[in-house]
Symmetry: C2
Subunit: 187 residues, 2 copies
């Protein structure tokens, strides 16, 4: 697994490349001297530029108030090697346990926000809260990605996609239909 | 590919099973006697019950006004066999072409809404608009899934997950970590 120093800056307007396929993510937070991390599968890209993403962060999570108050988080994209950590993080609460210590998750300092990067992940997206209009009604947070770090390889990480019931789909083969697009439709 | 009559009713509170992994979807609509279909990758589950999902439907799409006015749509989940149709639907506009006829996409009647089911898809989720509070600002529609139809097999469909740049990740193997969950965490 690449260490954070092996990650490269990545254009924030292109985070759809990693988030649109729908991986489970680890969302880290920091508030009043403590950090936490949660597993999250309910998210969507909302805009290329500014780089906006929406996260449904259930109110029962210890992270909910930490993120609501700090107005920041980091979205980390784990791969197959981290599946057990993803489950452990998802099945425990930061109110009871320091998950980073308990599950051996090394962290690294983010560039802009105070929430830590989960070092073993393939990509890290530092986020600032952009709009909380739907937080009360739906626990839906709209963030702007302000900094992105991505491992240069593998080109197609084996991300995890949760189907419920304790089962994950692992990202499979990649097929290109680039030839079916007009040049002006592609970057 | 199963025909619509081979689909089974599926509990609407469980649609996360098909949507949380993040597949590209075909969203069909109907307004003033005409139907349309678009390709969409920016969606998220928001709640189990009521069964809420959020879709970012870009304003430039012909479907935008049809869905905003009819307040309904169907979310259809295509699989690998439909990749060329997914691209053709995504790269054309309902303002210029009847995509169902042009691309040979058979439809079937929905149970509750007037938008058609795209018959060759693995699953169909009939939706009614629940909240348009973020449509003006973010083109973000919150729908309630009011009826779900799913093919009973295969159990793990080879869904398509768009990464941009004309490339799709195809759903790969499934791994279970069910043994790591307490029984009360699972259905």
């Amino acid at each position: 697994m690449p260490s954070p120093r092996q990650k490269q800056d990545f254009p924030v307007q292109n985070v759809r490349r990693y988030l649109e396929p729908g991986p489970i993510v680890l969302v880290s937070s920091h508030w009043q001297g403590r950090s936490n991390v949660m597993t999250l599968g309910w998210h969507t890209v909302l805009e290329f530029s500014p780089s906006l993403v929406g996260l449904m962060i259930s109110r029962g999570n210890h992270s909910f108030e930490m993120i609501r108050r700090s107005r920041e988080c980091v979205i980390n994209v784990p791969t197959e090697a981290l599946v057990d950590s993803v489950v452990r993080v998802g099945n425990s609460s930061g109110a009871q346990v320091d998950k980073f210590a308990a599950y051996g998750l090394a962290t690294a300092q983010a560039s802009i926000v105070r929430a830590p990067l989960v070092a073993a992940c393939h990509a890290h997206f530092e986020c600032r809260l952009r709009d909380d209009a739907l937080v009360e009604r739906y626990n839906f947070f709209i963030f702007e990605v302000v900094k992105a770090h991505v491992a240069p390889s593998p080109r197609h990480p084996r991300t995890l996609h949760y189907t419920g019931d304790g089962a994950f789909m692992v990202a499979g083969k990649v097929i290109s239909r680039r030839a079916m697009f007009r040049p002006d439709m592609l970057p």
